[in-house]
Symmetry: C2
Subunit: 333 residues, 2 copies
């Protein structure tokens, strides 16, 4: 668990794109972001108040979150000066950078002296159990994609937000670094040791109220040969009651695999459902989420309508059309 709320560190990144993580925190958990910290030359702005370390501390911030991607995989001396100042003011530091905070001897030493924590969210901090497959109380949803990066995290966050707006009991259960930084908890599933993957997902989504939904963040794709094992463990550890199929219609091949074409939504449905029913015989596919970012408004709507007619399932782009119809489908089971 990363202590919230956060001060969002944007550093000196050149543009908005590099601040994706900070933007995600602001969009999905605004209550977690008391402000942003920008250095000279910073080209990003996520739309919260600019604050100094002292001002944010005063406003209640507990953790400085590195909400940006850095260049060249190095934590610069300029960044370090700020991070060390924050540590000495009692901030925890959280980061999803490839180069780990804990591998920087000076940061490690300062944090030890100050008694604060460095949270490298790419690295598991828990000894997860081996999955036992026992049926858990409560409901669980998982988005599964025809490919990686098809909009599964966005779908989950949008469903969770819509459920909570309706007064339903819902928890977003992150399985990747961005989701973990947004919510302050989760499992970095791609970094878990093989034998413990499904157990980590069980650990993340334990027994809960019968009418509570865990909205589990999807990863990879059963059809993506680099990561399909991770997806499999998510399905069998998550024992979802409901699956939402996710698809990005303009892809010409699987992400990073030029020799592999995407499966159809029918192929995904026919492959994933028997696999999910091994662990939860009642599992259903309740909707389809289309990532229409590369389509025009009308084209996007038409694609969703055609898909809905073809597949017989509520089909929306939750970013464009809202997640309401996906939640209707979930509320019905």
């Amino acid at each position: 668990m990363i202590p919230t709320p956060y001060l969002l560190f944007l550093g000196d990144v050149p543009d908005q794109l590099a601040a994706k993580v900070a933007q995600g925190i602001k969009d999905w958990r605004p209550e977690n972001a008391v402000g942003q910290f920008r250095m000279h030359g910073c080209g990003a702005d996520v739309g919260v108040a600019d604050m100094t370390l002292a001002e944010a501390k005063e406003a209640g911030a507990k953790t400085l979150v590195i909400g940006v991607a850095n260049r060249g995989g190095v934590i610069s001396e300029e960044w370090k000066a700020v991070i060390i100042e924050a540590i000495n003011m009692g901030y925890d530091i959280a980061s999803g950078l490839h180069n780990l905070l804990r591998n920087e001897n000076d940061l490690q030493a300062e944090a030890k002296r100050a008694g604060t924590q460095l949270h490298d969210v790419r690295i598991p901090s828990v000894a997860y159990p081996i999955a036992n497959g026992k049926k858990r109380v409560g409901k669980r949803m998982l988005a599964v994609g025809t490919d990686c990066s098809a909009g599964k995290m966005y779908t989950g966050l949008a469903v969770d937000a819509e459920m909570r707006e309706r007064g339903m009991k819902s928890t977003f259960a992150p399985t990747g670094q961005t989701g973990i930084l947004i919510t302050g908890r989760g499992v970095p599933l791609d970094a878990v040791i093989a034998d413990f993957m499904a157990g980590a997902v069980e650990w993340l989504t334990p027994d809960n109220d019968p009418d509570h939904w865990d909205i589990i963040e999807g990863q990879g794709s059963l059809f993506h040969v680099s990561y399909s094992g991770v997806t499999m463990a998510l399905i069998h550890g998550g024992q979802p009651d409901a699956l939402v199929l996710s698809h990005e219609p303009t892809r010409t091949h699987m992400r990073g695999l030029p020799d592999y074409s995407l499966p159809s939504l029918e192929e995904l449905r026919d492959t994933v459902l028997p696999i999910a029913r091994i662990v939860n015989p009642a599992c259903q596919i309740t909707g389809i989420s289309i990532n229409t970012q590369h389509l025009g408004d009308e084209e996007a709507l038409r694609y969703c309508e055609e898909t809905e007619a073809r597949m017989g399932l509520p089909t929306v782009d939750p970013f464009r059309h809202g997640a309401g119809r996906l939640v209707d489908g979930l509320a019905a089971i």
Copy 2:
């Protein structure tokens, strides 16, 4: 790579069962075993010459292999005395024990001083790549089970042995600790980090001669919810041309999961083949291996015959009936 040949350390284990790894080496790679080292009170004997450390060294042994399971998860002082003597004579030490050699400070220090290696085969020693899914030259076989521990490793070793006896080009590709100790190489797949599982299998079975077979050791089961992600990565990383279905007919539930019944061989076939064809559209199921250890001779034969008639695939227990008919099936594709 663990330097071969070995001296097999049996220690003071009470019975033959505890010496399964050493027995596997003797059975499958007798050329790797120059002798066995037994301590006072040892109740195991794998049928090779008893030797002192010095005698085995003289006979060419390069590595002392801990070929037994220890009690209570502790490396005893008695064992340590032998291991340290071996290190000082220039032996590498190899072990699949849960408690790692490298975590014993005295062994670590002695090995460093002597310039020899400690091989903990449960822990990956390679930075595996992420799988790229590129089609590789050569042929690959993988055994997939209705459950864990259904005889997949035995099937692979028997097929490999039969192929080499026929003069076919074959390499057994171990993915678990016993197989790694038997052959001296391999990937401890259950200990690999999630993102690199499929890449580790690609690394293990690279391009080879068009008529060469990699016989990949299977792990877990697509139907075993604790480990199905590992099995998935094996299929997609291995891109098998041929699958052999493995089954143990007397199981009443999935291993360690009392609430889960086993799938039928038909269910396994129908689930695994579309998954395997994502990465290799030409993949075929070429045979079935039945672990009949809990059946009488006649019962075993009848079970195989009935299964063969039902499934339309060559069906044998390779331990009882030999792997010849499985290899016939592979040679035909």
